[in-house]
Amino acid sequence: MDENQSTDKYKFFDKTADAKFQAYGNTLEEAFKNAQEAMISIIYNIEEVLDYEFDEQERDVIVEGTNLETLLYNFLEEVIFLMSAELFVGVVKKIQIIHVDEMYKLKAIMEGTQAINLEGHGEVKAVTYNEMYVKFDEEKGKYTVQVVVDL
């Protein structure tokens, strides 16, 4: 990861006491996956998490939301929960988002390891709805999601 923490998958913006980022994807799933990676990159060396092989573990994540923003919020909150309650740090291995009966549902399999195996810096306290959006750009045919997390 380069010094300004930005890649093709996501980009960080300056925000005094918080972290603000956008994540991109050709599909909604890809944009959500990249948003999760961006959030993890605030705390961990993302290359280390992506390439981690020793003592690998998996976790299933299932969340719902009445709209895409709520779905994203709930997904990232679940990732924070796994980090602080189960000390599990991982990235998305598989992800699926479906829309049924006015509800969005997300199912994902995360792969990663116990936090103790990684060197962390900083902490994400909470996901916020501050400036959050999920947008589809018709021209580019791409999704962009924007998130501010409290540090």
Partner: protein
Amino acid sequence: MVEPTKINEFTWKIEKHGQMNVPAVIYSSDALMSKVRSDKTFNQIMNVACLKGIVGNAIAMPDCHEGYGFPIGGVAAFDMDEGIISPGGIGYDINCSVRLLRTDYNFDEILKHRTELLNELFKKIPVGTGRKGVIQFSKQQLLETMNHGAKYMIEQGYGKIEDIDRTEENGRLDSDPTVISEKALLRGVPQLGTLGSGNHFLELQKVDRIYDEKIAKAFGITHPGQVVVMIHCGSRGLGHQVASDYIMKMEEKYGHADLPDRELINAPINSDLGQEYLKAMGAAANFAFSNKQLITYHVRNIFEKLYGSQDNIDVVYDVCHNIGKFEKHIVDGESRKVCVHRKGATRSFGPGRVEVPEIYRDYGQPIIIPGSMGTASYVLVGTKKAEEVSFGSTAHGAGRVGSRSEALRTLKGQDIIDQLKNMNIEVKAGSIKGIAEEAPQMYKDIDEVIRVSHGIGIGNMVARLVPLGVIKG
């Protein structure tokens, strides 16, 4: 863009206009104001002034900067019948707070084993994210300590009873841990006894200068060179989850259509949900008090192991930074109970208040203000003036100016470590990157913040402390 009117050297005011129910006041200086203008602080403090039932002024402290809903360094008091309680006005890290321990050790004695001391502290007090406390507690014990506060920890053998006399609210706020979500509990269980990351730290310091000998002596600070230990942490993931839970619940129940900013989501103090949040906030606050009690226990043991005794290590005081309180203040010439939100602000009560521990009551409440890494910290004393003009509040720290991504772009952790080493400050950190994020360049000048607090008289200088060693997340 609104430009506040300068009233005097340290005071700016935004008169009531539009939807504001009260004026907004900013305590600052020309030097500090230039940075305040560059973020959303003015808008945020004006938004706070629009909230229902607010009394007096909406106030921003000298270290203020943009935050979630309320600015950091925001103070607002609300009427008990008409007013609201807002989780964003307390902050995600409920009862993020600072405890100062004084010792009888002199810095030259401590320097002999400094590296070993920092290593031991680092081992016993886990820092960073995803780390478990060295002593593990059951869910039942967690509930007990959220109910009874720091006293429960002392009953379990982790401290002296005098410690809680020297803790704001005696280390316990009114609470009901049964309202806490399972999610919050599960986040709390592994984290009791951990420091966390970000701006949280444990610092080994020496007294650099004493400004008020009489009051310093009353606080147990006797001479330059004396070693003290400062602990800055909060309610960890448990508190963050409580904040998230209640922001969500209040959104569902009350919505944000009437609010100038969605982040100011709130509930009437008198509502069931408002009361429930206060009970949950109290439980998280008690977790934070207990957390520092446990860390104090480790500090004492390590000092004893390396230097022979822990009998001479006492709590000076323990102050809350992110909290909602019910306190009596003079509003419109009459004394009444109000709900004070302090978000990134410290209580500053003057002599005589019953809330100030008896041993300090003749002098005023001790205020502990940490600087940024490698810079000075201060001990101040609370004042009558603060009770008159800021609902008994002053600053809480240096206050951030630069974002973490800016820090990572422009600074290297190793350079900061070397820079501190040149100042004879030893750093023990969870990660080098974390050091860059918390570099002193990313914060306001603490000396200037204190100059403003002292200049207005909302927190007067007692002693200046400088670091010898830092443990960082």
